[in-house]
Symmetry: C2
Subunit: 323 residues, 2 copies
């Protein structure tokens, strides 16, 4: 069977197999549940690193530098860049990926952009599946980079073993980071473009701000880098390694992975049931309900109750749970 | 009954009533379904305007300018700023809202920041409810501004009658806008900070890029503004008014509102069922399933199937629906 060969290929680290599997994730292929079920037992070997931060702070350059240092140590890497679902963005994003060209022909590095338009549940559900494929392909480190800083993008970057929040002097100061909701998800802070004015202030502000917040046993370090000059990359790896060792030693890594999987299952159930609801709104009874809504004869809550009953969930069960 | 008085207060345009109702949305209050049901029939009078764009391009200043011009015409306005759900961001955001102080004591203007942490379904479900409260309060225009540019934030800003995408010269050029996935949701493009170098290039690039994309009968105009100098605000209002008239005349406004409500109901059903799924994962059988997942004895898809069966949906129905 084709899927057998595909999974064997992924496991053997074959680039075309990994690329095809990720395309299946991208498109929401019908065989995805089966693929995902077979890939799942092969995972857990890779350390996953998420990067988030405002556009323009140099996340791609930073990943490029991190991959370079990693290859120097003899480790292998995969880079997954999650693109927005914009139909117009295809061409524009290629420019970004060009920066990674220096590793494009290295067999120890796999680089892939992924749009998530075809996937039910979008970015939040497509990303963990793609990450598992790269994990199963035997790469030591899987980087996940999201474009933009929004609730969904931040969640995707945070659903990794070590989350880097990247800012730059001036623009991405501590207050901006707090506004974007990315302060509390950082395991390691990176102030990139540290050769620019204001880098020291940014580092100091972040350390101060972090001191104010709540944190557990791990206090996120703040590392200054100038990725295009390859400065600070070793220090950043030291911080990442320290976080990994701390997380493994305290059991927080295992707990974090466990919780992540549970949340994914919950999101999967919600997405599939949402789709069932959408189908119901498209039939005759659904169209009547839609007409009632448009005429304001009923309201969204009451319409949702009716659909919940049709899905088979007792409304009182749902009411107990929410809102 | 208290809720009666609250709804009467909202309808009468009482600021404290509107503020309290929005707090109920923010907190996911138990009486929210009832409140929302009573508010719904009172809506449809306001024209809603969403603003999205990268942080730092001057969205708040632009809203400030637009509100000023609106008050000059004798119209009333509400401004809803949707904040990220960051626990650390509370203080940081206040600075932003200070820019709107000039309208803070004007009874014709209502300004409110809203965190959406307590609301099941987050920003995507909280925003339309809050917008309806402001609509019901009798304001002519309701502005909705999101912080950050992510999938969720863009969707919230797009779920309005007229969506403004705001960029600034240099940083927010056409390629960046495409990357952020915000090109195709714009009804009107704004290049703010038009007094800076590169503004003309940004306007030209955007017009070119828009010419490449698909568009219906409405071609999004590109307007240059310098909000802090009050330049270009009248031109922007002309563009907004032209879009509103076009949308009303062609029926696209009505169709857009209809579809928006349907999508909200779908999201509401999905969120409530997701919550039911989360509850099930917390009981004994759920904990066993979680343990199986952690040990990789089962995979997320199979776990989701089991939960779907427990919710009462036949798995094949869910499978037919997608992905």
């Amino acid at each position: 069977m084709d899927l057998d060969r595909l999974v064997d290929g992924v496991r053997a680290g074959d680039r075309r197999a990994a690329a095809r599997a990720i395309s299946m994730v991208e498109d929401g292929d019908a065989e995805l549940p089966e693929l995902s079920a077979r890939v799942f037992p092969l995972t857990g070997g890779a350390h996953t690193i998420g990067l988030t931060g405002p556009p323009g702070v140099g996340k791609s350059s930073l990943v490029n530098g991190l991959v370079g240092a990693l290859r120097g140590r003899g480790s292998t890497a995969a880079v997954l860049a999650i693109d927005p679902t914009s139909p117009l963005s295809g061409g524009a994003l290629l420019g970004d990926r060009v920066r990674m060209q220096e590793h494009a022909t290295d067999p120890g590095v796999f680089i892939r952009s992924m749009a998530t338009r075809g996937h039910l549940g979008g970015m939040a559900l497509a990303a963990p599946e793609a990450i598992r494929i790269l994990d199963a392909s035997g790469k030591d480190i899987v980087f996940v980079e999201t474009v933009g800083v929004g609730q969904a993008e931040v969640e995707v970057a945070a659903a990794t073993d070590t989350t880097l929040v990247v800012v730059a002097p001036g623009w991405g100061d501590a207050v901006q980071a707090a506004k974007a909701g990315i302060l509390e998800i950082a395991d390691v802070f990176v102030v990139n473009k540290a050769d620019l004015d204001g880098a020291r202030d940014a580092v100091r502000d972040l350390r101060q701000m972090l001191g104010l917040g709540e944190h557990g046993a791990w206090i996120p370090p703040v590392v200054a880098t100038a990725a295009v000059r390859s400065e600070g990359i070793d220090e950043l790896w030291d911080a990442i390694d320290a976080h990994r060792e701390h997380a493994a030693a305290t059991g927080s890594l295992e707990e974090r992975r466990r919780r992540r999987t549970i949340e994914e299952v919950e999101a999967m159930v919600a997405a599939r049931l949402g789709d069932v609801a959408a189908e119901m709104l498209a039939d005759d009874a659904g169209r009547a309900l839609a007409a009632d809504l448009a005429a304001r004869r009923t309201d969204p809550y009451r319409a949702a109750e009716l659909l919940l009953k049709r899905v088979g969930v007792r409304a009182d069960v749902a009411s107990e749970a929410g809102p």
